[in-house]
Symmetry: C2
Subunit: 193 residues, 2 copies
């Protein structure tokens, strides 16, 4: 296997990149100036040295605590519980949420061997001083539902309001194409106008 094929194979193992896309990417890099390849290589080399887990929320960051946990303007009384660090990035882009985060590091999935003990739940419980609300921002999937139910049970002994992100029709969606479960949730979660 030559250098080109080796790089195509490496790229095709990244999430969302198939063999054809990997080919297109490597040919693009070859056609571009070597500067692109070298910049990419440099950033990849130093990535794991520069980025660590935030000791408080578990998100990826260069400095510990991360910029969100260290920000005195963020409302520390609301914790948004998320599956992984990437969800934090996506919610931050929405600029809607002003509280802080807690990364679980996965969802309860007995079939995949993920039990509550594998998740950062003890850490969450140690952060509850002065917290008024916990928002469970977990995917509306079987694993997300299971994890939300589990956390709800554990947290109900604390004087904390627990909520979960609304599940229903996406904005711009069409009733005709929505699946039954989503439609059912839209009915259950209907809001007064």
């Amino acid at each position: 296997m030559n250098a080109l094929d080796r790089l195509v194979t490496l790229f095709s193992k990244l999430p969302g990149i198939g063999k054809k896309s990997a080919g297109r990417i490597v040919y693009h890099i070859l056609d571009s100036s070597p500067v692109l390849a070298h910049t990419l290589a440099k950033e990849l080399t130093t990535l794991h040295q520069l980025i660590r887990r935030c000791g408080t929320c578990g998100g990826f960051t260069e400095a510990d605590p991360c910029s969100v946990c260290a920000d005195s303007n963020r409302d520390k009384s609301i914790i948004c519980v998320i599956e992984n660090a990437q969800d934090m990035r996506i919610i931050e882009e929405g600029r809607e949420f002003t509280g802080v985060y807690h990364v679980l590091g996965g969802l309860i999935a007995p079939l995949d061997g993920v039990s509550p003990a594998n998740l950062s739940i003890d850490k969450l419980l140690s952060r509850l001083d002065g917290v008024d609300e916990i928002i469970l921002a977990l995917n509306p999937t079987v694993e997300g539902d299971t994890t939300a139910l589990y956390l709800q049970k554990i947290l109900k002994s604390y004087p904390i309001e627990i909520s979960r992100l609304a599940s229903g029709m996406p904005v711009g969606g069409n009733i005709e194409y929505i699946d039954k479960l989503t439609l059912s949730r839209s009915f259950k979660g209907r809001t007064k106008i």
Copy 2:
């Protein structure tokens, strides 16, 4: 911008990778062992040193001439003319074609400032000794059609058979969903059974 964001930005500039996919990829690399990041970095660093253009066909290769041009089993009397080096990879995967290739390095596109002088046409003409057939494997687009027509005009003074890849309905396609132009080409290129 921290190291994570810099790498996401770099990845999102690669073809076929949007900002969200780039995020997924970088978080995947962060979650994986540093070995993945370092292997990728190493291959990227050496890519341009190891891979060069084949002096004969113009394809990307580690050794010059490339494995196809150097292979004595390949039929040197048939040249398959392609737009770029990546097309060679795709045709080779089909294991159908046993001749050799010639990379044009683009297609005639006056609006993008690509004229015949920018393409590797003189090089093609210098390779015609002993060639019986030229297959124009160019995309069935306006640019591909223009380039094919141009090459046909130049090559007609040589005692060489010129053909072009069949254009029509893709296998597994559905007449209902095929566009008019493709359907028209399917009729024109119909084959006797």
